[in-house]
C-alpha cells in the first residue's frame, strides 16, 4: 500500500482536482464520525495531515516523496500503540485504519488508487457504527457515503464539473432510490442468534435482567445507562428505601448459578397488605416475559400471570413498550405459612461447596440458638464491619465462590452480597431466596415519574421468618448504604440545571420520541423481533429458512421491477407510426420484412404481392396509412382509430 512505485510501469492518468477534493471530503467524513473514538491529539493530527495533503496537491502538485511515507507509517503505528497499548481491537484498529486512509491519500494519484481509497472510506464509515448506532450517527455516516460514491462517479469520462453540492446530488438520488430495496433486505436478512466470533460490545448490555444469576452477570448491566422503565404513582412516590422492583425470584443454587423455578400460577399471591400504592409502569422492550413490579404486588395486571412468590409474567414477550397498572403493598406479610416442600427448597444447598461458610453459619446457630433475627443481624454486621468493599470490578472467584468472597476477596456488588447472604442463611437453617430486580431510580420532578435505568438493576435476599413471612433483607445496603438511599443518580436534588428547563427540556423530550422510534425500529430489530415479523399475517414465528426464502423472493421481485425499468422504452408518441410498427412486426412474422430504405407504400405493395390472399385488407391498410400520413396536417381521429383497429384485427396468413 505504501511504497515507491515501479518506475518502469506506464504512468496512469492522474485524477482530476475535483475528484481528489471529493475523496478528501470522504476522508474528512471518516475522521469526523470517528472523532469521538480517538484521542484529541491523534484526531487533530490526522485532520492536519489530510488538510496538508489537500493543500499540497492543489497548490504544490507533485508526489509525496517515498522517504517520507515510511516514517509517517511508523509514527502512526507508534502513536496508536502509545494511545491504546496495542494495535488490535476496535478502537486501536479503527484509529490505525483511519490513519492508513490518510496516508493512502498521500500517494493517491491514479484512478485505481482513488477507487480503492473511497471503498476503504466506506468501510471505515461503517466501522464508526460499531461504536454507537444512534440515529444521528447513522445519518451522518450515510451522508458520508455521498462523497465516496461521487468520487467513483467523477472518475467516469466525459463529465462536466458542476459545483460540488450539485455534483453530490446524483449520489443522493441513487441512495434514495435504493431505500426500498435496502429496507426490505434489512428486514429479511436473517440475524445470527449467536455471534460467529467475539463481539466488541456484548449484546448482554441490552438484554436486561435474566432469570438466572451467576457472578459477573450484572456488571455490563450496571454500566448500561439506558432506560428500563418509567413509573408514575397515584399519589406521592414511596420513599427511596422502599423502591424495590421485583422481577425474578431465584431459588436454586448449584454452587455458581442461581436459577428460578416455576412456582404455581393461578394462585393469588399470599400477601396481607397494610399500605398499598397504585402505580403505572411503562416498560421498555426487554423481549422477555417478566414484568417488574413494586415489591410486593397484590395481583397480576391483565394479560399476565402472577406466581406464588410474587413474580409476574406477561403472556407474550415484551417486544414493544408495555404499559401496565398495578397495586402493590409497601408493608405486607408475604406467605405467613410455609409449606414443608417450599421450606425444604428454601433451605437447599449443593453438597461439597463452601465449607467455611457452612461452618460460620453453624457457629452462629450455636451461639444464638433459635433467634433467627440475631443471626441475620450477625451476618449484616459482618458485611458492615468485616472489611467488605463495594466495587463493580471484583476479583474473580474460585470453586468455593462464597468462601472465596467471604474470606478472601471481600469485594463485589449486589449479586455477590445477595448470593453470599442467602447461602449463609440457608446454611444456618433459615429459609432464604434471592430476588433480582431494580432498586432506586431517578425521580423526575417535571414529569412526575420515576425513571429506572438498567444500571439500577439490583439483587437482594428474602428470608422467611415465622410470623412476618418473607422479609426483604438487602445485604448490599450494609456495605454501601448510599446505594439504597440515593440511588444511581446520587443526590441530584430538585434543582434542575438551566439546560434542562423550559423550552429546551420540552424540545429534548420531543426529540426523545424520535430517538425512541429509532431505538425500537432499527436498533432493536433483532432476531426475536424478526421472527415475529409476520405475526400480523397469522404466522407467529418466521424461522431462518423462511426468512431466506422471503429474502430471495423479494429480491426476485425487486430484480424484476428493476429489469422492467431498465428495459422500458418510451412508447411511440405518434400513434399512427406505432400502429404501423405493429403491422410491420406482424408482416415480419409472415416473412415480409420492411427494408430500412423502403417507404410504406412500396413495402405494403410488396406485402400484397407476397400475400395475395389478403390483398383487400392490405390495400385498405395502405390507403388508410397514406391518408393519415400525407393527406392532411391534422388527420381525423376517426381515421386514426379505424387504422389502429384494422392493424389490431389484421392476421397475416403465412404462405406455405
Amino acid at each position: 500500500m505504501i511504497g515507491p512505485r515501479n518506475a518502469a510501469q506506464p504512468v496512469p492518468a492522474h485524477v482530476s482536482e475535483r475528484t481528489f477534493d471529493l475523496l478528501c471530503l470522504a476522508a474528512a467524513f471518516v475522521l469526523i464520525v470517528h472523532t469521538g473514538h480517538f484521542s484529541i491529539w491523534l484526531s487533530s493530527a490526522l485532520f492536519m495531515a489530510l488538510a496538508l495533503r489537500w493543500w499540497q496537491r492543489r497548490y504544490r502538485p507533485g508526489r509525496v516523496p517515498a522517504w517520507l511515507k515510511l516514517p509517517m507509517l511508523l509514527i502512526l503505528v507508534g502513536v496508536v500503540v502509545l494511545d491504546y497499548g496495542n494495535i488490535f481491537g476496535r478502537e486501536p484498529g479503527s484509529a490505525l485504519a483511519s490513519g492508513l486512509l490518510v496516508l493512502k491519500l498521500s500517494e493517491t494519484e491514479t484512478p485505481r488508487d482513488t477507487r480503492v481509497a473511497a471503498a476503504f472510506a466506506c468501510f471505515l464509515l461503517m466501522a464508526a457504527l460499531l461504536f454507537g448506532q444512534g440515529m444521528i450517527a447513522t445519518f451522518v455516516v450515510a451522508l458520508g457515503l455521498l462523497p465516496a460514491l461521487t468520487t467513483w462517479r467523477s472518475l467516469e469520462p466525459t463529465q462536466a464539473t458542476p459545483s460540488l453540492p450539485r455534483q453530490l446530488l446524483p449520489a443522493l438520488g441513487l441512495l434514495l432510490v435504493s431505500l426500498p430495496l435496502t429496507l426490505t433486505a434489512f428486514m429479511l436478512v436473517p440475524r445470527l442468534s449467536s455471534p460467529l466470533w467475539g463481539s466488541p460490545n456484548s449484546a448482554a448490555a441490552h438484554t436486561g435482567l435474566s432469570d438466572h444469576m451467576s457472578p459477573g452477570d450484572f456488571d455490563t448491566l450496571l454500566t448500561d445507562d439506558s432506560p428500563a422503565m418509567r413509573v408514575t404513582f397515584d399519589g406521592p412516590p414511596p420513599p427511596r428505601g422502599q423502591r424495590y422492583f421485583r422481577a425474578f425470584v431465584l431459588w436454586d443454587y448449584d454452587g455458581t448459578n442461581w436459577t428460578r423455578i416455576d412456582t404455581p400460577t393461578d394462585v393469588p399471591i399470599p400477601v396481607e397488605a397494610a399500605q398499598t400504592v397504585n402505580y403505572q409502569i411503562s416498560l421498555e422492550p426487554t423481549h422477555q416475559r417478566v414484568l417488574p413490579t413494586l415489591d410486593v404486588p397484590l395481583r397480576a395486571p391483565p394479560q399476565a400471570q402472577a406466581h406464588a412468590d410474587g413474580e409476574v409474567f406477561a403472556d407474550k414477550p415484551v417486544d414493544d413498550v408495555r404499559d401496565y397498572a398495578l397495586t402493590s403493598a409497601l408493608r405486607y406479610r408475604l406467605q405467613a405459612h410455609l409449606d414443608p416442600a417450599t421450606r425444604l427448597r428454601a433451605l437447599h444447598l449443593p453438597d461439597g461447596f463452601d465449607p467455611r461458610a457452612h461452618a460460620l453459619a453453624e457457629q452462629w446457630r450455636q451461639r444464638y440458638g433459635r433467634n433467627d433475627a440475631a443471626i441475620i443481624e450477625a451476618a449484616l454486621a459482618m458485611f458492615h464491619n468485616g472489611g467488605f468493599r463495594y466495587t463493580l470490578l471484583p476479583a474473580p472467584l474460585g470453586h468455593d465462590a462464597i468462601d472465596d468472597f467471604l474470606f478472601n476477596t471481600r469485594e463485589g456488588f449486589c449479586e455477590h452480597y445477595a448470593s453470599a447472604f442467602t447461602v449463609l442463611m440457608r446454611a444456618a437453617g433459615i429459609p432464604a431466596r434471592v430476588v433480582a430486580g431494580y432498586q432506586g431510580g431517578f425521580w423526575n420532578n417535571m414529569g412526575n415519574y420515576l425513571l429506572v435505568r438498567n444500571s439500577d438493576a439490583h439483587a437482594w435476599s428474602e428470608v422467611w421468618l415465622p410470623g412476618p413471612g418473607w422479609v426483604r433483607i438487602d445485604p448490599t445496603a450494609a456495605v454501601r448504604p448510599q446505594r439504597i438511599s440515593q440511588g444511581a443518580a446520587g443526590a441530584a436534588g430538585n434543582q434542575l440545571p438551566w439546560y434542562e428547563s423550559g423550552l429546551l427540556q420540552s424540545m429534548r423530550n420531543q426529540w426523545d420520541i424520535v430517538n425512541r422510534w429509532w431505538n425500537q425500529g432499527v436498533i432493536g430489530f433483532d432476531a426475536i423481533r424478526q421472527h415475529g415479523l409476520l405475526t400480523p399475517f397469522g404466522i407467529p414465528d418466521v424461522d431462518t429458512e423462511m426468512l431466506l426464502k422471503l429474502l430471495i423472493i423479494s429480491m426476485a421481485v425487486f430484480g424484476s421491477a428493476g429489469l422492467v425499468w431498465a428495459l422500458w422504452r418510451r412508447p411511440e408518441s405518434d400513434l399512427a407510426l406505432a400502429a404501423m410498427r405493429a403491422l410491420e412486426r406482424k408482416l415480419a412474422h409472415a416473412g415480409v420484412v420492411r427494408k430500412h430504405s423502403e417507404g410504406p407504400q412500396h413495402f405494403l405493395r410488396r406485402a400484397i404481392h407476397a400475400l395475395p390472399g389478403q390483398r383487400v385488407e392490405l390495400d385498405h391498410l395502405m390507403r388508410c396509412y397514406i391518408e393519415l400520413r400525407y393527406a392532411t396536417v391534422e388527420p381525423s381521429t376517426e381515421l386514426l382509430r379505424a387504422f389502429r383497429l384494422a392493424v389490431r384485427n389484421f392476421q397475416p396468413h403465412r404462405m406455405v
Partner: protein, 315 residues
C-alpha cells in the same frame, strides 16, 4: 495474466454462439438490445462486493443493525448501478458511419452517427487500440481514428461499445460489427522525379494582370496605387480600385499510367499519388489516365479525391 485471458476470450467466442452471434458484419443501423448487451462486474466491482460481504458478516456478527442498514444501502446502490449500466447501452442506435480520407499509414477518421432517446453518459467506443468516450443526448457524432496500413478498401473491424457508468463497479458492453468499409488512399512516394510538363506550359508560366477592365471594387490594403480609380473614387465615399480580369493559367498536367514504364504497380501508384499531391498543392489542373479508368481534366479537392480513390482501388 493477459495472454490466458485473451485465449479464454477467443475460446469463448469460438464456443459460445451467444457471444459470437454478432461477429459477422451486420447492416446499419444497429440498435443495442438486451440480447446483445453483456454485463459483468469490473475487478474493482468484485473487490467491492467482497468488502460488502465482510461488512455484512461484521454487522450481523456484532448484531449491529445500523451497520447492517448501511451495508444494505451500499449493496442496493451497487445493484441499481448495474441496472443503470445496462440502461446506458440499451436502446442505443448506431445510425450510420462516415469516413474521411487518409493515405495508407495515416489514421483515418471514422465517424459514427449515434442516436439515443435519452441522455447516455460516459459511453466508450473501442476501435482497434483507440478508445473514445462520449455522451449522447439525442444524436451525436463520434469520431475515432482507425489506423491504416495498405491502400484500398478496409473493412471496419469489430468494435466494442462499453460503459462502466455510473460508478465503475460494472462493465456493460456490446460488440458491434457494422458492414462498412473505408477507402484508404495510396501512400505517396517520398521523393522522385517531377511530373513531365508539356512544353507549351513553360511559355505561359508568368501570371500577369489582364488588360480589360472588368469592374470597380472597394480598396483593400495592399492594392497597388496605380490601380485606384481616382475619378470614380472622387464621387464615392471610399476608394475604388479597378479590377482586371485574371487570365487563366493554362498549365494542366497530364498524368499517364503508360508513361511510367519500368516500375512495378505499387511504385507507379505511389509516384502518381505524389504527383497528384503536388498538383493539388500548386493549384493546378490535371488529368489522369489509368488502366480501366480515364479521368478528364479538372482541379480542386473533389477532383483530387476522385483521382486518389481511383488509384486506391487499382488491382
Amino acid at each position: 495474466m493477459r495472454a490466458p485471458f485473451q485465449r479464454l476470450q477467443q475460446w469463448a467466442e469460438r464456443r459460445l454462439p451467444a457471444l459470437t452471434r454478432h461477429r459477422r458484419a451486420e447492416e446499419l443501423p444497429i440498435q443495442l438490445h438486451r440480447r446483445r448487451i453483456y454485463i459483468v462486474p469490473t475487478g474493482f466491482g468484485m473487490a467491492f462486493t467482497l468488502l460488502l460481504l465482510v461488512m455484512l458478516a461484521g454487522s450481523l456478527n456484532y448484531a449491529n443493525n445500523a451497520a447492517l442498514l448501511l451495508t444494505c444501502l451500499l449493496g442496493a446502490a451497487t445493484s441499481i448501478s448495474m441496472l443503470i449500466a445496462f440502461r446506458t447501452l440499451n436502446g442505443l442506435r448506431i445510425r450510420g458511419v462516415r469516413a474521411g480520407h487518409a493515405t495508407a499509414g495515416h489514421p483515418i477518421d471514422v465517424t459514427f452517427d449515434v442516436e439515443a432517446s435519452r441522455l447516455r453518459q460516459a459511453v466508450r467506443l473501442d476501435l482497434a487500440d483507440a478508445t473514445q468516450a462520449f455522451d449522447v443526448d439525442g444524436r451525436a457524432d463520434i469520431t475515432i481514428n482507425l489506423p491504416t496500413e495498405h491502400r484500398g478498401w478496409l473493412s471496419l473491424p469489430r468494435l466494442r461499445i462499453w460503459t462502466t457508468w455510473p460508478m465503475g463497479l460494472f462493465r456493460a458492453w456490446s460488440w458491434i460489427h457494422p458492414q462498412y468499409a473505408v477507402l484508404v488512399w495510396p501512400r505517396a512516394e517520398l521523393s522522385g522525379p517531377s511530373p513531365m510538363l508539356p512544353l507549351e506550359d513553360n511559355r505561359k508560366q508568368r501570371l500577369h494582370v489582364g488588360e480589360d477592365l472588368a469592374s470597380l471594387r472597394d480598396y483593400r490594403s495592399g492594392d497597388s496605387m496605380r490601380h485606384i480609380a481616382w475619378k470614380a473614387s472622387a464621387r464615392h465615399e471610399t476608394l475604388l480600385v479597378k479590377d482586371y480580369e485574371q487570365p487563366q493559367a493554362h498549365h494542366e498536367w497530364r498524368f499517364d499510367w503508360r508513361d511510367l514504364r519500368g516500375l512495378d504497380n505499387e511504385a507507379r501508384i505511389s509516384r502518381l499519388a505524389r504527383w497528384l499531391d503536388e498538383a493539388q498543392a500548386q493549384g493546378r489542373q490535371w488529368s489522369l489516365w489509368l488502366p480501366g479508368e480515364v479521368i478528364g481534366i479538372g482541379g480542386g479537392p473533389s477532383h483530387y479525391a476522385r483521382c486518389m480513390s481511383a488509384l486506391a482501388v487499382l488491382p
